[in-house]
């Protein structure tokens, strides 16, 4: 295969004179070579004895922790399964699940509750059970979903992240964003991101608004508009803004704040007095996967005590498994345990999801314009 194109090119210097080779027209020969290459490229690679399980994760610094806590130990425990990690953001995953419906390429998706619930509603998920994923039984009851359509493997809290050197005293309330001292030094995530949505839902509560009557929240945002440096959409942008000192305060999540703090940035978080939203991460098995058993083993492993304790230590994800015992240092940092879970607000995501397009449209016109 390799020698043919090389031979063809050695014939090229004789351009125009040597038109036929062994009775073949040069063009036909080229065509044959290209066709052969093309067919070769389309042939399926020789299958390995190993099963390759394709799973998504959030990428970046999250992925470093996930590799250490889940992927590597899992592969050690199951030498016949190889994990291939693909980076996907929640809503990208959703789009992909729809697109691959008839020919599943990615077996397990990592998505937040909003995405996972939507995927379940569209019939794109393969439900699990205590029989296929035994560790499900160890989860706090609050983390079981109807029909066990997916597995919640972690949670974090929506918080106010602040620069510990520039903001003192520490913020106590969402109202502190309106403090003129911090004008021009805050960022508010755009409403189309999960962090932005959680902030908006807390804002509804703070401003005495409801999902059906959002006017007070929008009025408050219009007032805040001039104080906002930018409306980021990605965690990496917020990390950059805090690191460079362009902002000193922003709504964020507990795990991401701690991750940045662990890199030496003077940053901490508070769950303000109005509370915080619980944000849960789910593992969703794609309906129609050809590696169902391996996928179930993987999900089960991610729910295990060992994996969740490691996740808490490396990437500050709060465990959903009630049997996890954290080391005192980690336990002091991250929201964990039944009381912490109960203190966080669990919004009606289904309703929020249905109203979100409307809110975003209004946000686009009134807040970020």
């Amino acid at each position: 295969m390799k020698s043919s194109p090389a031979r063809a090119t050695t014939l090229l210097p004789a351009k125009g004179t040597l038109m036929t080779i062994r009775g073949f027209h040069l063009g036909q020969r080229f065509a044959a070579i290209f066709l052969a290459l093309f067919v070769f490229a389309l042939l399926p690679q020789r299958s390995h004895a190993q099963t390759e399980l394709v799973v998504t994760d959030y990428g970046g610094s999250f992925e470093d922790g996930w590799r250490k806590s889940v992927v590597e130990p899992f592969e050690r425990a199951h030498p016949d399964i190889k994990i291939k990690l693909v980076q996907k953001l929640v809503f990208e995953s959703m789009a992909l699940m729809r697109a691959q419906k008839d020919d599943v390429k990615i077996d397990v998706f990592m998505m937040d509750e909003v995405g996972a619930a939507q995927a379940a509603a569209e019939g794109l998920v393969q439900p699990i059970s205590v029989k296929t994923v035994p560790h499900l039984a160890e989860l706090y009851p609050a983390f079981r979903v109807p029909g066990d359509s997916f597995a919640k493997f972690m949670f974090d809290a929506s918080v106010i992240a602040y620069n510990t050197q520039q903001v003192s005293p520490a913020p106590q309330s969402y109202k502190d964003f309106w403090n003129p001292n911090y004008s021009g030094r805050i960022a508010i995530n755009n409403l189309d991101s999960a962090t932005g949505l959680s902030f908006f839902l807390m804002l509804l509560k703070t401003e005495g608004a409801t999902m059906d009557h959002t006017d007070p929240a929008f009025a408050a945002m219009k007032k805040l508009k001039p104080a906002i440096v930018t409306f980021p959409e990605q965690h990496a942008q917020l990390a950059q803004l805090f690191t460079q000192g362009d902002i000193v305060m922003a709504p964020w999540t507990s795990d991401r704040t701690l991750l940045l703090a662990s890199k030496g940035i003077p940053i901490a978080f508070v769950i303000p007095k109005e509370g915080g939203i619980i944000q849960e991460g789910g593992l969703v098995i794609a309906k129609g996967t050809r590696k169902l058993q391996a996928a179930q083993l993987y999900v089960n492993f991610a729910l295990s005590v060992e994996a969740q304790a490691a996740n808490a230590k490396f990437t500050f994800l709060s465990p959903t498994n009630s049997k996890v015992v954290l080391d005192p240092q980690t336990a002091a940092k991250i929201p964990n345990g039944l009381n912490a879970i109960k203190a966080l607000t669990h919004p009606d995501w289904k309703k929020a999801n249905e109203l979100r397009p409307q809110w975003i449209d209004r946000w686009n016109r009134e807040v970020t314009q």
């Binding site: 125009g16 038109m19 063009g27 036909q28 290209f34 959409e233 362009d246 979100r356 314009q369």
Partner: protein
Amino acid sequence: MQSWSAKPPRSLAPWALLAPNLLLLLLCLAGPLLLLGRISLMGYEAGHGMIPIWQLSNYSKFFFDPFYRAILGGTFLLGAEVTALCLLLGFPLAFALSRARGLQRAILYFCILMPLLTSTVVRTFGWMILLGNNGFINHTLLRFHLIASPLHLMYNVTGVIIALGEVLLPFMVLSIDTSLLNINPSYYEAARNLGARGPRIFFRITLPLALPGIVSGCVLVFTGTLSAFVTPTLIAGARIKVMSTIIYQQAMALLDWPFGSAIAFTLLLAILILFAATLRFSERRRTS
């Protein structure tokens, strides 16, 4: 080559050579575009998914809403601004490049291509470090008391123009360079013999003959700006809305593929119309 074209019935070779590319283009461009066109005519209900009907309401939603029309206009304005910046900076550079010879040209060429050697995301984060309120530029200017308060270079359209101008500049320079190199030096000698001076030579010979390169450079930069996504998102955030970012928002964040597809198709159509107009214009110039 000539012997092939002289015998059209037997010249399978060009087709054979084109076949893999054509096949790829058909599979990866025409197919998805058709699908996109179909999706743009469907309906959508939040929380439930797409509804397979035929309708034009996604397009009317776009065109009857001044909010979206303003985004289309703003995107074209941004394209024009970046193109103007690239032309202004690119022409002198291309002129210098076309005059340089040997090693000097090689070094200059490499420097001009440099922006294309890093990935968009890395380059954009680099710009964020330079342009931020506490970034390198503001820090330096403040340090030397050249400005009293930080210049707002990030999170607005200024930053986007700067960052896009940097990466698209090579396309402008290389297009103009090619057409400048194609000008026969004897034209200049003839003009000088006839007593023309620098500015006159420039406006009567250099500029008109470089026009094809300028036009193709402008088209490349303009369409490059219109399709840019990472740079406006990271540099400006949600404050600056361009077509690519609202397509992303509809398709990815809101999962409203039908409306997202309709916006994408509108952008494609607008670019095609512009292309056709430009081609007509340059063709007419050539024939007249």
